[in-house]
Symmetry: C2
Subunit: 197 residues, 2 copies
């Protein structure tokens, strides 16, 4: 049986761009099932007084440069700094949550990140969200309405609560059992842990 | 000519323990000269409103666990969480600065981290600092007096200023030319950059 790795992420996390682009393939290569779990890292950051970049221009400048280097290393397109922050109402994240109950979460999240990093658009704005969903052949209005429905809102809150309970504080976080690995740069460690190698 | 990598660190940074234990050997293997530069990351963190762990117990708990895993991976001894924070007056860091003008900075800093992580002692307290220096065959009182002298204090401030100018915000940071790599987990990337491979 394939081992499982839970992939907790937030559409709006910068480093998660590299993870969203490469984690599925890396997991498949390692024989690990990747379980995509959108959650509200913003809620946890607020609770934990852990704001990684807001009001920290020196660290923020480093992050963009480091992200650019990591994107180049993994062959992920990077064409300058995109808008930041994004998705203020977390609607793109609720759509990702809806998608995770079906089979199109990776496709949606990858398209959302492409719109953000390459298109330089906020994938959480209704206009751009609609375009992304249509590009995936989805009924955009139906998806957006369902993403705001009580069951999806509750699932997003429950995923956030799971993350809180696990001791997660940032995105991306990979979880094998109860072992947490934070950051795109811990993907290989997390896969090794999950697969017992 | 060997390529150079500047190693900016603060005795008191937790992840720097792994770097202090492994960077010299990794650099030698890569044919890179490692230039040890103690600086006051605490000063920059205060200026930049960037407190990585204080008041953030969830992130702090993760850090200790992640550090334990990284120590195991690199064969660095880890025997539970040591006292934290340490060196409130930064005297161990000024002794490291003095040592960096001579040839015993790596030996001193490694001994200071061993006292901290294995001995569970604050290497910045005068009592323990004296023991560390004596263990290295140094005249402890003379070293401690010289570490507080104007030239060493000025050099420590100057290193801190260099780090500020480079856009450094954390310890360890590796710098190749003006390219900054933050974190023990960026050592390999920094060595590759420095050696042009």
């Amino acid at each position: 049986m394939a081992q499982r790795l839970d992939f907790y992420f937030f559409v709006g996390s910068t480093y998660s761009y590299v993870s969203v682009s490469r984690a599925a393939k890396a997991a498949a290569t390692a024989g690990v099932t990747l379980n995509w779990k959108p959650f509200s890292v913003r809620t946890l950051m607020r609770e934990q007084n852990n704001s990684p970049f807001a009001g920290k221009p020196v660290k923020m400048a480093y992050m963009w440069r480091d992200l650019e280097r990591r994107a180049a290393r993994f062959g992920v397109p990077f064409d300058g700094v995109p808008p930041y922050p994004i998705d203020p109402l977390e609607q793109a994240n609720r759509v990702a949550t809806l998608a995770s109950t079906q089979d199109w979460c990776p496709a949606f999240v990858q398209a959302a990140y492409e719109a953000w990093f390459i298109g330089k658009l906020d994938p959480g704005s209704p206009e751009h969200l609609r375009g992304i969903l249509q590009g995936l052949g989805r009924d955009a209005d139906a998806c957006m309405a369902e993403a705001d429905s009580e069951p999806v809102v509750a699932m997003y809150a429950e995923r956030t609560n799971e993350a809180r309970t696990l001791g997660i504080f940032g995105s991306p976080s990979y979880v094998a059992g109860t072992e947490v690995f934070w950051g795109d740069d811990r993907l290989e460690d997390a896969l090794a842990w999950a697969s017992g190698t």
